[in-house]
Symmetry: C2
Subunit: 98 residues, 2 copies
């Protein structure tokens, strides 16, 4: 297992954080994710759209009172790819700890 | 443990590959690393110089016959930071596997 074989879409820290959060809470709002991951609005939206483009999460827009709200949910494919990534990461970790 | 807290200098796949290889073989040449990690010359030199700039590896240039050769070695600080990174990665993995 070579680190360069890891799923690059998932491995990036902010994206790994978004998926990890959504694996536990399935659906989260933009401000909730921003607070959990301690990232900027710009950083969060860039990485959320990369995950959405690759079908790992989907977003929905609605109104909370008068305020527009964006909510993210992990997809079944996102869940499956994340589990595969964890297995590969575990394999790599055992290899590295030698 | 938040994925965004992981050591970003080490976490990037090519850099993680360079350090992993040097943890086992301590010193490797540019072509050896390139072959092991299956990366381009450009990609390897960009990431090797980031690691060197942060004091995690050092490079040496000499001649092998008439051909110039670059060799990389992990530093003591590189070793220490890599071990801390592995501990944090393991902690994160346990957390994610829930």
């Amino acid at each position: 297992m070579n680190p360069t074989d890891l799923n690059k879409i998932i491995h990036e820290p902010v994206r790994l954080g978004i998926l990890s959060a959504l694996m536990t809470r399935e659906t989260l709002t933009f401000p909730e994710l921003k607070e959990m991951l301690k990232v900027t609005d710009g950083n969060l939206s860039v990485h959320a759209s990369i995950l959405e483009k690759h079908g790992l999460i989907r977003s929905a827009k609605d109104f909370y009172g008068k305020k527009p709200r964006t909510t993210f949910t992990i997809t079944d494919d996102g869940r499956a790819q994340f589990r595969r990534y964890l297995e590969e990461l575990e394999q790599l970790l055992h290899q590295l700890k030698g």
